[in-house]
């Protein structure tokens, strides 16, 4: 029992890698350059690799320096927006990253064109270019695709993705390492819209949820109200003879707006003579992607495809260039960029803002410092690109179509999943801390369930501890009987990734692709002496020896495992099957042979082997005990098989047959026991 008590009290050192570290390299208390590192059990996973849209060149990258890029096993990209995949070509082509990179099919197809567009734009604006078109094309080879729900396992890291809503191909990744599940939502929306599904609710409970917090504690307008307001506004503007400008980001929400407008126009024949223009070459390029990956969209679209492709619009005219555009009378124009920093949407706004019949509808998230944000404050005048001042008379409205979760969705989502840990990313510091406070408040009084909410800053890691239990499966002959309490199990533990199996060595080939094997060894040694001579020496070493014949040649077998074959008069061959113990025996045998060879005795002079019997052993023991404890410690007489040792007032009785020692004093017992055993090992020849 002593051992068991001991093991209970041992403080188990935290095994390396039991810590799960979640470290945002970007998007920690900010929006943009999403990049989150996960490390657990020696596996390193990067989630997203975006750039900050508000910065340029190297400054816009996530803090990649704070990790060892070479060690990263896996990179998962949630969707095609620049702040989630913008740094990908740089990361794949210009760093030492050796792992694998995954995204969904639709994301990859759009990524190619979106970034190509970005490269063109950034070429003009900055000198320190992060990557070129060529890098982008090369990076395509390194990106692998996954389908939603498809499970993939890379070196013990299992992951699969769920639909995230947000944009076409947007995914939430569930990552499982050694039984610990981590959900990364990316950008997600729980609201179904015209073409996308709502983000799915995973059917397994994650242990950690890394969740976006863009909208903090805001609550969105209802979809019907929002759409109604939007179409109503557009209708009003064109009815009063005005031109309606909708600045949009080329991909993502623009497609949703197009679907709404196309349907509205279909239902209102009176509007048919008013054209809707969509001016974006990028969107045109990616339309075929939208027309193809129908399976990633909602059921309504999937049904519709059997009749006609809903992305083949009937009332929307694609504008290749401004030259094509005839500005006569009312029209609706969707133009990029969404925040009117420059480009077509800016041009049109400057041309139209002086007429009060015209209207501008801002439909997405705008960043501080852009014209879109500025005009929302309804200024009297605006400054054009050329520096002129223009009166702003047109109407400006803001209807958010951006597909990020609001507080209601986030709260419900987390309520369903009940994760022990929540890590907030992708949100302005203030919004994030408000969301954190709100979530904490929500579960304040809950006794049964506690939610830890973390909002780490960039490069600051959140450390969580998981003592994930290691479950082993006992298979094969070891599990032939029903397991009983206290049953001893000896076998081979096979650890593959994070799975453990225990099996008997014989079952190895049945359950794995490994096989048990043996190595036999034959070592030839020059020996010119006689058989009896060697035999003499060997008896001193080994207790049991057999005379056998191997291929008509005399041989000796010692330790039941090592065979010495007298191959010729000049040579012996030592043969055995490898394993650490027999190797040791063989080494001993080899030493004996060498000794016999070096120290020849004439055949007649070979003495009879000393017989080590009980009597001899007893004598030795008496000598030893007297040397150890003094001559008075024991009587010279041995009665039966017992010998008594008396030291001070303690007495120990030694059983000479079994070498067991019994004594009232524990210390004496162990001393005598050790001494007796050692003596026995030294005096008697080895037996295997």
């Amino acid at each position: 029992m002593a051992e068991e008590v001991r093991t209970e009290n041992v403080v188990i050192p935290a095994e390396e890698g039991e810590q799960l570290i979640i470290q945002p390299l970007g998007a920690g208390q900010e929006v943009g350059r999403s990049c989150i590192m996960l490390s657990f059990k020696g596996k390193k996973i990067m989630l997203d690799c975006g750039i900050h849209p508000g910065m340029n060149g190297y400054a816009s990258l996530p803090f990649l320096d704070s990790v060892d890029v070479e060690e990263i096993d896996l990179l998962l990209v949630s969707h095609f927006h620049l702040d989630h995949c913008g740094a990908l070509p740089f990361f794949l082509e210009k760093t030492k990253f050796k792992g694998r990179c995954f995204m969904t099919h639709a994301s990859k197809a759009i990524y190619r064109w979106l970034l190509s567009d970005y490269v063109k734009v950034s070429n003009i604006s900055t000198d320190d270019m992060l990557y070129s078109e060529a890098d982008l094309v090369n990076s395509m080879d390194k990106i692998e695709t996954v389908n939603f729900h498809q499970e993939t396992e890379i070196n013990g890291v299992k992951f699969w993705c769920y639909t995230a809503g947000h944009v076409l191909g947007a995914a939430m990744f569930m990552i499982e390492i050694a039984g610990v599940k981590i959900l990364y939502t990316g950008d997600y929306s729980r609201q179904e819209d015209r073409h996308l599904m709502a983000a799915e609710l995973p059917n397994v409970r994650p242990d950690v949820v890394i969740i976006e917090s863009t909208y903090g504690v805001h609550i969105h307008e209802k979809r019907e109200d929002r759409e109604g307001r939007f179409t109503g506004l557009v209708h009003d503007i064109v009815n009063r003879g005005g031109r309606c400008l909708i600045p949009v980001f080329a991909l993502g929400r623009a497609q949703e707006l197009l679907l709404i407008l196309d349907e509205y126009w279909s239902n209102h024949p009176e509007l048919h003579d008013i054209p809707i223009y969509y001016a974006s070459s990028l969107a045109k390029k990616c339309m075929s992607v939208y027309q193809t990956y129908i399976n990633a969209m909602n059921d309504k679209i999937k049904k519709q495809i059997t009749m006609s492709n809903p992305f083949v619009f009937k009332h929307i005219i694609n504008l290749k260039s401004m030259e094509q555009f005839e500005d006569i009378g009312p029209s609706v124009v969707l133009a990029s960029p969404g925040m009117m920093q420059s480009g077509l949407s800016r041009e049109l706004f400057e041309a139209w803002c002086t007429d009060k019949r015209n209207g501008c509808i801002i439909a997405g998230y705008c960043v501080e410092g852009t014209l879109a944000k500025h005009i929302l404050s309804e200024p009297e005048e605006i400054v054009t690109m050329t520096g002129q001042k223009l009166q702003m008379k047109c109407s400006v409205d803001y209807i958010s179509f951006s597909a990020h979760a609001d507080y209601q969705q986030t709260s419900e989502f987390l309520r369903e999943l009940k994760p022990p840990h929540v890590v907030l990313v992708h949100g302005e510091a203030n919004e994030m801390s408000r969301l954190k406070a709100a979530l904490v408040r929500e579960y304040e009084d809950n006794e049964e369930y506690k939610m830890d909410v973390h909002n780490p800053r960039n490069t600051v890691g959140v450390e969580l501890h998981f003592r994930g239990e290691k479950m082993a499966k006992v298979v094969g002959s070891l599990a032939a009987q029903k397991p009983k309490d206290g049953q001893q199990i000896s076998g081979i533990l096979v650890k593959r990734n994070f799975n453990y199996h225990v099996m008997a060595p014989e079952d190895l080939p049945n359950y794995t692709d490994l096989a048990m094997s043996t190595v036999t060894q034959r070592l030839s040694i020059a020996y010119t002496g006689t058989i009896p001579l060697l035999q003499f020496y060997l008896t001193q070493l080994a207790g049991d020896m057999e005379h056998i014949k191997v291929k008509e040649k005399p041989a000796l077998r010692v330790f039941k495992s090592v065979t010495i074959i007298f191959d010729s008069t000049r040579m012996v061959v030592v043969e055995w099957t490898s394993n650490p113990v027999t190797d040791m025996y063989a080494d001993a045998v080899v030493t004996v042979i060498l000794r016999a060879e070096r120290d020849p005795m004439p055949q007649k002079a070979v003495p009879r082997a000393i017989r080590v019997d009980k009597h001899h052993f007893q004598e030795c023991m008496l000598d030893m005990i007297q040397e150890m404890f003094g001559p008075d410690a024991t009587s010279k007489l041995i009665r039966g098989d017992k010998m008594t040792v008396t030291v001070d007032d303690n007495t120990a009785i030694v059983d000479l047959d079994t070498l067991e020692v019994t004594s009232a004093s524990e210390s004496l017992q162990s001393i005598v026991h050790t001494a007796v055993n050692r003596l026995h090992q030294a005096v008697t020849p080895l037996k295997s």
Partner: protein, 746 residues
């Protein structure tokens, strides 16, 4: 401890009938595929009917009628209600196959085995999956997981993996294709390692294919020669499976300027060609890497055809100028446009007919393949013709009668409150057609906006169809109910209504045909076959050689061989026995047989204590780590101090409330038994040579023996084990040390 595994064969074993098996794993019964032969063999259905109530789930592997043909019948007529699992393409294309099959049959005969509604009903029950998406079954199937994996052959083609308790692995792989094709990746069978049971077909076991390039060239030359001679080429293809491969190949041929084909016409003719191509366009993510890359890089959708014209009937086809190459369904020439075209074209020696699949014995196509010298055949020609003259009058009179009967019976119903209105019920059956029509009509209205193009003429002809709205009748107990409204088939109808848009084309087609009074006539004709008939294999299945290689790789513990001629099955079984690949049994059931592949599954779970694991010495072999473990099973729960972060553990505890999982704990030191070391993972001698050379020990192979530094020999003895031999010297011990390093020694 033991899981029961049984397989009952309904069809498709030791012959070439379509696959249909009932796999029982413990209490749960899977129906693996439910194919129906080209001639709708009822004997197998009769047998299957007896088991319908027992089936808990259906797994489908391919969308063609050989693999799921009986599904509409089972659902619609036999009352099968269990969930069905299939990949998205199998679902979509399977529906197309069934529509086309129904329509092909209906065009020429009074086909009544199933209706389009049965098809919809059946496909509504399908749970659509992605590859590698694991479904964990609940209830009766607790502990079972099913996963579809890519199989090649047809889009969405599936190898099913069924796993019991995370250990017992059953693989159902038929008709797979390991080779990459134009539109599909090869199957992923090599990822399996030692499954406990594998069910596979032997269809191609003694069949050798010529190389793909040769076959492509053969097709190309046939087409070119025929075209230049002003003849037409009929390629008999399936509806939406292998057709996709060939359509892409032909469109590519037409595109290349050197081929000189672009002046000729290329057409795809089946009842659902538009929809099939639309679906194919939206399934790029299920196709080959090459196609995916082309799409990602250049947005080239391979099914955006430049030359292939889509036709839905012979009239549309006739508008395409000759000479033309026509891909027409069905591949067996038993029904469909391919049969019509065959009859029309086989007499002219200028024409060519290309058969692409060895269909079941007894079909016309198979007969032509098996007897290439056949110059004259006698076949039944069935046609649907409009009623004329007296017959038409008769029909109209009957219809009127029915009408008056109807109203009369209604009056009867109103007056006599008799719930057993057999008469009117019988009439309902006849009248049912119109009943349905009315509902479809509503859908047509919304369809008007959709630009589906090719239905236009149909629409113009029948913009609206008369719809009888029945008056709701009341008696003192309320509305008079019709019992047939509450039969199972009717209950599902609301769902159908939602689904209607999908089957728009067929409905209209059917309407078009059934609207005019028609009848089916059949005549036996003898045809001279003058056209050149060729069989070029575009089946897309692995051949015998590859099947054997794959089996060698997979090494299942038990094997069930199904679907293939007795000779082929025997060949493969013999191969497996002689190479001693399979440790367990090799089953070769025949149709109607039940086999029992139950194995004792010896397995239980145990928790590993952390300090036990940390005390172990792991050594690595390939991708696994191994250690010798001596431990003791404890059933007692010892609660360790739980810190706040070990919620995971707590949850695990909750989960296993039902059963206590034993813990594996350290043995007290004095109780640890000794064990003989085990050497695991034997190296190859050639690999070992490289290791030695790296350590700068000169070594050479002499007659299979690796001689190192002329002092030490490493060889395999008779038992295949490695033997180290040498004289006593330093090199001996160095070589030994290096050799030991190659092993995982525990």
């Amino acid at each position: 401890m033991t899981s029961i595994i049984k397989l009952h064969v309904f069809s498709g074993a030791l012959d070439e009938s379509p696959p249909c098996y009932l796999l029982q794993v413990d209490e749960f019964r899977f129906l693996l595929d439910c194919g129906w032969s080209e001639n709708f063999d009822m004997t197998m259905i009769k047998e299957l009917k007896r088991y319908v109530n027992q089936i808990d789930a259906v797994l489908l592997s391919y969308p063609d009628n050989i693999h799921l043909g009986a599904l509409p019948y089972l659902i619609g007529k036999c009352g099968l209600t269990c969930p069905i699992y299939a990949t998205i393409p199998v679902y979509k294309m399977g529906q197309m196959f069934m529509y086309d099959l129904y329509q092909s049959q209906h065009n020429t005969s009074d086909f009544d085995l199933f209706t389009l509604d049965d098809v919809d009903l059946a496909f509504d029950k399908i749970t659509q999956l992605k590859y590698s998406q694991t479904v964990t079954l609940k209830g009766k199937g607790h502990g079972l997981q099913i996963t579809p994996l890519p199989a090649g052959h047809m889009i969405g083609g599936t190898i099913w993996k069924i796993v019991k308790d995370g250990e017992e692995e059953i693989v159902y792989a038929v008709d797979y294709n390991h080779k990459k094709e134009r539109h599909l990746n090869g199957c992923s069978l090599e990822m399996f390692n030692r499954p406990s049971l594998m069910i596979t077909d032997t269809y191609n076991a003694s069949y050798t294919q010529s190389r793909r390039r040769l076959r492509d060239e053969q097709l190309m030359t046939t087409i070119l020669q025929t075209m230049r001679n002003d003849g037409n080429v009929l390629v008999a293809m399936d509806t939406a499976g292998r057709m996709l491969e060939l359509a892409q190949l032909l469109d590519q041929m037409w595109r290349s300027t050197e081929s000189g084909l672009s002046t000729y016409s290329l057409a795809l003719l089946n009842n659902v060609s538009f929809n099939v191509i639309e679906f194919a366009k939206s399934q790029v993510e299920w196709m080959s890497d090459k196609i995916m890359r082309a799409f990602e890089d250049n947005r080239n959708n391979p099914y955006q055809f430049k030359h292939l014209k889509l036709c839905h009937n012979l009239a549309e086809l006739s508008r395409i100028p000759e000479p033309k190459v026509v891909l027409a369904s069905t591949p067996d020439l038993q029904s469909g446009y391919s049969r019509d075209l065959f009859i029309a074209w086989c007499g002219n020696s200028k024409n060519s007919i290309v058969l692409t699949t060895r269909t079941s014995p007894g079909t016309l196509a198979r007969e032509l393949i098996d007897n290439p010298q056949l110059r004259c055949i006698t076949i039944d020609v069935q046609r649907r013709v409009k009623l004329e003259g007296a017959e038409l009058e008769e029909y109209q009179r009957k219809k009127q009668d029915k009408g008056s009967n109807d109203s009369r019976s209604k009056i009867q119903q109103m007056t006599i409150e008799d719930e057993s209105s057999d008469e009117s019920e019988a009439e309902m059956d006849v009248d049912g057609l119109y009943h349905l029509k009315g509902k479809h009509d509503l859908m047509m209205k919304s369809e008007g906006k959709a630009r589906t193009g090719f239905f236009k003429q149909a629409k113009k002809a029948y913009p609206m169809f008369h719809f009888h709205e029945e008056k709701i009748r009341w008696d003192e107990y309320g509305e008079i109910i019709k019992p047939e409204d509450y039969t199972i088939a009717e209950i599902v109808q609301p769902e159908e209504e939602v689904k209607k848009p999908e089957k728009g084309p067929e409905d209209e087609k059917m309407q078009e045909v059934t609207d005019l009074p028609t009848k089916c006539v059949s005549s036996t004709v003898t045809l001279d076959v003058n056209a050149r008939i060729q069989y070029i294999d575009f089946e897309g299945r692995s051949d015998g050689e590859s099947m054997r290689k794959i089996l060698e790789r997979v090494k299942p513990r038990q094997l069930v061989l199904v679907r293939g001629t007795p000779a082929a099955t025997e060949t493969l079984a013999e191969f497996c026995t002689s190479s001693s690949l399979i440790q367990g049994k090799i089953f070769q059931p025949k149709v109607g047989d039940s086999i029992d592949a139950t194995t004792e599954s010896r397995i239980f779970q145990a928790k590993l204590r952390d300090h036990l694991v940390t005390s172990l010495n792991f050594s690595t072999a390939r991708d696994v780590e191994l250690a010798w473990i001596d431990a003791q099973l404890n059933y007692i729960e010892n609660d360790e101090p739980v810190d706040s972060n070990t919620l995971l553990e707590e949850r695990n505890k909750k989960e296993k409330d039902s059963e206590i999982i034993p813990t594996l704990d350290c043995l007290p030191l004095n109780k640890v038994p000794t064990h003989t070391s085990v050497f695991i993972n034997e190296p190859k001698l050639s690999d070992f040579k490289l290791v030695l050379l790296q350590e700068k020990i000169p070594c050479v192979f002499v007659a299979g023996v690796l001689i190192c530094d002329n002092k030490v020999a490493v060889r395999r003895n008779k038992a295949g084990k490695i033997q180290l031999e040498g004289t006593l010297c330093n090199e001996y011990y160095r070589v030994r040390e290096l050799l030991y390093q190659q092993y995982a020694i525990v």
